[in-house]
């Protein structure tokens, strides 16, 4: 006999789909089937059942082999390297729940760590731009029910947020969008003919790295002013056409992704994108939203926002919160050799940081708290496998539109495995003991 758990939240991307159905064995120990999820989400649930999954912490030996250690030993090692370090880096925090982020932040305060999350290689530059000029945004529900002009700029939801278009942006029929996708106009700006671009009404195949120019061209086109014949590889007629399409809608939404945040220009590209949104509001209602990647990277920004006042790159080493992207950001600190211990939770910098940063982690006392075996666990001294948040333990996560959603536990973790929050709580207690607090 089996039972079906409904309304399950998917802990993969920032779309945070909340309509999954998961079939589990009657004793709740085995996860059998996943319905409604995208290919990536389904794989995330199913991988928790992998037979070769690691269930106990392990420590790298001098000869390069791994030795299994107890959770107590892992807690002791973690507390020791964090308290002994002058300036430890505590990085990740995006594939975990807000409860764990809260406990981790407390540890960071006691040990004087630099706290950084995956926004640093994702939408960190968007956050800088928002601090520069603000952001007119909305929720995904408003988009589903109202938006009839959808612009995807430098993002490819068909691959990175597979159910975004069907749940919120392009296909659903909402209160004022009863015709579904036939009532919407879709524009894609991307240097490749992506699978998202293929279904768009207008695809502007921009010359890579020329986003700022094209954003500015849109502002010119809105006003009906003269453009050069070609901007960023796009003939002016097509820019005027796209600008008119946006202006003629009742509600326009701009989604933007890594194509804008990671290309040269960085935060200034987003400044321009937000300025486009502001200008568009002279003609119709318009909003803009970053396509957040990890399912709870938005949550870590929220937690640190209310704890420290800054959403990423928070330096607590002086006993109070400082924030200076370029100085207190993970990659800059690592490349300059300014941290002397690394703690990673809920992220994989080994795979997703430039190699020059990864090499620095390899040379430092380091802990990776991570359910999978990853390039990060490969370069860290201690690997602590934990339960999957959103699969084996619940907790709060924030969707890309800053809506908090409580994730659900659907299956038991293998016996004796800790959750992120439990592990951090033990580390916090040990840190306090060592510090005599």
């Amino acid at each position: 006999m089996t039972k079906t758990v409904t309304d399950v939240i998917c802990p993969f991307c920032g779309t945070l789909c909340d309509d999954l159905e998961v079939v589990v064995s009657k004793d709740g120990k085995n996860l059998l089937e996943v319905y409604n999820a995208c290919a990536i989400g389904a794989e995330k649930f199913l991988h928790s059942q992998a037979k070769d999954r690691l269930t106990r912490p392990r420590m790298r030996q001098e000869d390069g082999s791994w030795k299994e250690i107890s959770y107590d030993e892992a807690i002791e090692y973690t507390a020791k390297i964090l308290t002994e370090a002058k300036k430890p880096l505590m990085y990740g925090w995006s594939s975990t729940n807000c409860e764990a982020q809260g406990v981790g932040s407390e540890i960071g305060e006691y040990v004087g760590a630099v706290m950084d999350n995956t926004a640093t290689v994702c939408h960190g530059t968007s956050l800088i731009a928002v601090q520069d000029i603000g952001i007119p945004s909305c929720t995904l529900g408003e988009i589903k029910n109202r938006a009839d002009r959808i612009l995807f700029w430098g993002c490819n939801p068909a691959h990175a947020h597979p159910r975004h278009m069907s749940r919120y942006s392009i296909f659903p029929r909402g209160f004022f969008t009863g015709k579904g996708h036939t009532g919407r106009k879709m524009i894609v700006v991307d240097p490749r003919v992506t699978d998202t671009a293929r279904i768009a009404d207008i695809h502007l195949q921009i010359e890579q790295g020329r986003d700022y120019e094209l954003f500015d061209a849109f502002r010119v086109a809105f006003k009906g002013e003269q453009l050069p014949d070609i901007v960023a590889g796009i003939p002016k007629e097509r820019i005027y056409e796209a600008a008119e399409t946006l202006k003629s809608g009742r509600f326009a939404i701009i989604f933007f992704g890594m194509g804008v945040t990671q290309s040269l220009g960085k935060n200034h590209n987003i400044d321009a994108a937000i300025a486009v949104t502001r200008d568009l509001n002279d003609y119709t209602k318009a909003a803009i939203m970053p396509m957040r990647g990890h399912y709870n990277v938005t949550g870590s920004g929220q937690v640190w926002g209310w704890l420290f006042g800054f959403p990423f790159a928070v330096d607590l080493s002086r006993g109070f919160a400082r924030y200076n992207p370029g100085e207190t950001t993970a990659n800059d600190l690592l490349r300059r050799g300014e941290v002397d211990a690394v703690f990673v939770l809920g992220s994989d910098p080994g795979a997703h940081f430039p190699f020059s940063s990864v090499k620095k982690i390899y040379g430092l006392p380091s802990v990776a708290v991570e359910p999978h075996e990853t390039p990060t666990t490969e370069v860290c001294k201690v690997h602590v496998p934990v339960a999957f948040v959103g699969v084996e333990v619940g907790g709060c996560a924030y969707r890309m539109d800053n809506v908090p959603i409580e994730t659900r536990k659907v299956v038991d973790a293998p016996e004796g495995m800790m959750t992120d929050e439990e592990f951090l709580t033990h580390v916090l207690a040990r840190v306090k003991e060592i510090k005599g607090i």
């Binding site: 993969f12 995208c38 990536i40 794989e43 995330k44 991988h47 992998a50 950084d116 640093t120 290689v121 960190g124 530059t125 490819n156 068909a158 691959h159 990175a160 597979p162 240097p191 490749r192 003919v193 992506t194 699978d195 671009a197 890579q208 790295g209 890594m258 194509g259 945040t261 990671q262 290309s263 040269l264 960085k266 935060n267 990647g293 790159a313 992207p325 370029g326 100085e327 950001t329 993970a330 990659n331 800059d332 490349r335 994989d348 080994g350 795979a351 997703h352 940081f353 430039p354 190699f355 020059s356 940063s357 990864v358 090499k359 999978h372 075996e373 990853t374 390039p375 490969e378 370069v379």
Partner: protein, 133 residues
Amino acid sequence: MAIRVNLITGRSIQQGVSMEAGKEKPAYTAACGIIELDPADFKKLGAFRNTNVRVTSKYGSVIVKAVEATQGPHPGVAYIPMGPWANMVINPNTYSTGMPTFKGTPVEVEAAKSEPVLGSLELVRKGCRGELA
């Protein structure tokens, strides 16, 4: 013949699925240890599809398998899915934003038929120990 292209990285659904299935598995290497090239660039390179190539930038070098662009045409632009292979060659400079320049790295691509594409863990391990060619 070596060709010069503009390298970008990013997510592909195959990257996402194989990542969640385990980065130590061969499927992850198959999904991310590749470079997608435009047919026009393949012609200039003078190599068959599915040939191993060496991608070199100012910042590093890596062996990946050259495949035809799945989301093209995009002549002059090459794509390696996000992951340790791409991160061997992308521009790590953040220009005071915290964000490495993952997109828009000029790279040179040349055929390297006899050199193997390493798995993710081996690539990172060997790189850290200075054992990569």
